[in-house]
Point group: C2
Chain length 569, copies 2
């Protein structure tokens, strides 16, 4: 027994059986980087692709140096680099919410930089950069974090670097640490940050006039940072959706085993519905709501509830009193009338002195008197707890914290009310779920593990090749894989709000005309009427199904298989 | 693209990549049953173990036939059966909540009965038995459900068979279907049902005086149906705890990545804390509450909150503002003063005419006036929404529906209140989770898949050997595995309530003196003070970690490894 006790204690600190084995798992490397048992640096050449947005002219004014240097051209990694630099000092940081695979970006970066360049890890995200919390990334560190989930090696935060004071601090840290480059692993906001920093640090940071190179790496479980064949998907999306799809598949099995519950499942994913669509493609539940489609079709909340209620009714007619519904976290903002109501409420509340002091019934009465008839009717149709949430304090920007609204419960309650009108005898027992945090830090799938290792190699190769203002990517996922560099300035749009300008990388929403959505639309009526679901199960790291890719990515990239062939020549 | 669309559509109805591969996965069979490529029936002989409870005398009166026939003796499968019967007609049903591995019990049963006996599946649990919903289990059925999670092949329900009218119905169905045996796959209640039916159907069911054999199979994710070396664990526990442990491990990684949340996680498992203890052993979070220990130490709610708050404070002193707490679903009933308060409230409410008509404030005031000082003080210390729940309508038995109380939220709110008293500046941002339904129907781990296949083989072998009133089990899990038969009457206790007697199999609670709990106690102070957690990750079906067993089972059985060696000779 003592021996077993010791064995269990040895599993502490990331030494569970699986964690130990995953560290040893070999990963494919794209052909461009392969050199014997190791990796090699490459030069980057222009592909035919040139990126720009409708705001290109204004962006060129705001980002003169990186715009001129990169000219919007997408690059791909090619021939071995003629002269491989050494002595470079590179900082890497995580930014925003964690996503599976982040650790392998660091592993790939370290491997490409090799022992003759120095990699420094920034503790605690952008805030850590401002505070100069840099420490060398050792060989022991990368051996330990290889193929593990989470950002816990370095930590992360959501600080946005945008003020002159912050820029000065970054310069100071860069000088103090003699940095040649910074790699920012993050989502759309963080890569916007990377674009801004690349311009800001383009030159004249160090005494000799040199700048600091800045490279972004596309992370987000939400899948809203993607760009067709040039960036098929952000890293983390595959792992997160596989985790959610397992849970949803398990619940589907449960619904058909217990034969008594409708499960309403809300899935993380901020604005876009990519996560929900992917999980639906994998598990095929009875009902899936896609925000972008609801917005495009201008559906009302009553329309949505009617669709749900009619599905419950038609299944009940066949004796099926169970089912699973998927709803994306961001749904409520995509229902045009609800968005309009929230805007109207914001307007009313902005001019309602003493409102906070009223009790809840008085608040509701006050507001009802100020809204137009359509808004007032919609407001009155909502459950009281939702009315109260809509009248709650706004955040510091005057916005409602929509993420707090329990959309899944709202849909349950409104569907129940509608069912009572249709036929009070239809059974409708429910369970609600929200899957989010469970998916952000799981051990990366083989796809995400390999993808991120190669993204790290690409980021390192871009630094060795002297590039700045690019986001690393890997193209040709269903072939051997090609390292790509996407010019960040070519992705920027200008958002004008309250008279001021802000640059943003626009979130990629679900394209309702793309193959993934079209396939879903072609099957969903069948899924609604009978239990045709699958239970995709836990992701595997060994055996015959380990190389699966997201189904939506395979569909949208018009692949002929659902397995990646990354690293094959 | 059309080819990929077709491929995706082919995945419907349980044909996800993993599901298709799992159907092909070979499983070990215990030596006693192995015969070439197939299986053989065996005779069952007495081991030295004899089972009885303190209520044995009364049980013998109530169960005269099975008590005499089985004499409390535990049997083990041994030599090949001299004369293998054919033409037997056997019904199998799921009872109670689903658990991973149930399908493989059916697969094993079918395999042992072979083509010369008939297996009938009962649709919709015990209620389906009463209604005679029996259909043959075909070879195609077992090929399809092999190694899949859930009870969805047959469905389940929670009907308790106990009235004379129900017994008559079962006899009628048994005669109509010419049944020789019934196999009930279920938990403690369902196996109590099996014991009762075995006695009831012992003889004189059919015209020739024959009875119907009844065999139970020990299922429950809760782990509260176990009996030392004779029944190391019920099936489903391993898979469910591995699913929860992955989620908790992912959230631990997230907590240390995002560096800002305390996650309070409630885990399914009714009364006992086995699930929570196992997940704690696997993931090693900062705080884990074990109900049985709290009851044994007679801790108050304030004691528990103080422990939590002090851990938050001491971690904060080291700059750690995150953590994970695990709480078993049944906690609240194990806190002696809360149990006492609920009893007192039940008493007050039983004699409070017109109470339901009062508004909530008036209800609280009314009750406060009727409680003694200690109860009133405890009641007043609870958040208002909990007070309201404690005053809500009782169920038809006059009991409070404790499962509706959001224990995790209660602990968050009371800890927050206590922290404000200690030091209002300590950060305490929180997220709450409940994991339950996700774990009941996942694809069974290799352990559960092999265990249930062999439980099915054992149940089948017991039927072929002419036994009744036994529960199938497998002993010697860390060796090759031995089929066991546990006499159900030897497990029964008498529960006297409201003047009437009911037989029950007592739930096995966590033994706080057993090795698993002792090991947990020896490490938890360290886990509380620093992040020593592991992230056990998704269960694997191939590769080096596929044969892991529950750590609590390995500890309590004094195994020298955490891998099972089932089926090895």
């Amino acid at each position: 027994m003592t021996r077993l006790n010791d064995r269990l204690t040895a599993m502490e600190q990331h030494n569970a059986l699986l964690e130990d084995q995953l560290r040893q798992l070999p990963l494919p490397i794209v052909p461009a980087f392969r050199a014997g048992d190791g990796v090699r640096a490459v030069s980057f050449d222009a592909t035919g692709d040139v990126l720009s947005t409708a705001d290109a002219a204004r962006v060129a004014e705001m980002f003169p140096q990186t715009t001129v240097a990169n000219a919007g051209k997408v690059l791909h990694g090619g021939a071995p680099l003629a002269q491989r630099p050494s002595g470079k000092r590179v900082a890497v940081l995580f930014s925003g919410g964690p996503a599976p695979g982040g650790h392998n970006v660091v592993v790939g970066l370290k491997q490409m930089l090799g022992s003759d360049n120095l990699l420094l890890g920034v503790r605690g995200g952008p805030k850590g950069l401002l505070n100069g919390r840099l420490e060398p990334v050792t060989d022991a560190d990368v051996a330990k974090i290889r193929n593990s989930g989470g950002f816990d090696y370095l930590g992360t935060d959501r600080t946005k670097i945008k003020t002159a004071e912050q820029f000065a601090k970054v310069r100071e840290v860069a000088v103090k640490n003699a940095l040649d480059a910074i790699v920012i692993i993050g989502g759309d906001d963080s890569n916007t940050n990377a674009a801004v920093l690349a311009e800001e640090l383009f030159a004249n940071v160090h005494a000799d006039g040199r700048g600091v190179q800045v490279i972004g790496v596309p992370k987000t479980i939400d899948g809203d940072l993607q760009l067709g064949d040039l960036l098929p998907i952000s890293f983390g999306f595959d792992t997160a959706t596989r985790i959610y799809a397992e849970m949803v598949g398990n619940i589907l099995q449960d619904s058909r085993s217990s034969l008594k519950y409708w499960h309403f499942v809300k899935l993380m994913g901020r604005a876009a519905s990519h996560v929900t669509l992917e999980v639906a493609l994998q598990a095929k539940p009875a009902i899936t709501l896609i925000s972008e489609e609801i917005a495009a079709k201008k559906l009302s909340l009553a329309d949505i509830i009617e669709q749900i209620a009619q599905t419950v009714v038609s299944r009940a007619a066949k004796g099926i009193h169970h089912g699973v519904l998927l709803v994306p976290e961001g749904l409520i903002e995509f229902v045009p009338e609800v968005k309009s109501l929230i805007d109207a409420l914001n307007e009313v509340l902005a001019h309602a002195d003493g409102f906070a002091a009223l009790d809840e019934a008085a608040k509701r009465a006050f507001v009802a008197g100020k809204l137009d008839a359509a808004h007032a009717a919609l407001f009155a149709s909502l459950p009281e707890y939702i009315q109260d949430m809509l009248l709650a304090d706004r955040d510091s920007h005057g916005n409602l914290q929509l993420s707090l609204i329990p959309t899944e419960q709202l849909l349950v309650d409104m569907t129940r009310a509608r069912l009572k009108q249709i036929d009070a005898k239809i059974p409708f027992a429910t369970q609600c779920h929200f899957f989010g945090y469970e998916g952000r830090c799981g051990a990366p799938t083989l796809f995400d593990a390999a993808y991120t290792l190669n993204l790290g190699l690409t980021a390192g190769a871009l630094i060795l090749a002297g590039k700045t203002g690019y986001m690393a990517s890997i193209g040709n996922l269903f072939g051997g894989g090609v390292p790509l560099a996407i010019p960040l300035a070519g992705l920027l749009n200008i958002e004008r709000r309250h008279g001021s300008e802000a640059v943003v990388i626009e979130k990629a929403l679900v394209n309702i005309d793309a193959p993934a959505m079209q396939y879903f639309v072609s099957r969903r009526a069948e899924w609604a009427q009978a239990d045709l679901f699958a239970s995709p199960g836990p992701r595997q790291f060994w055996g015959p199904v380990a190389s699966q890719v997201p189904l939506s990515v395979a569909l949208n990239r018009k692949a002929d298989d659902v397995l990646f062939r990354f690293g094959e020549v």
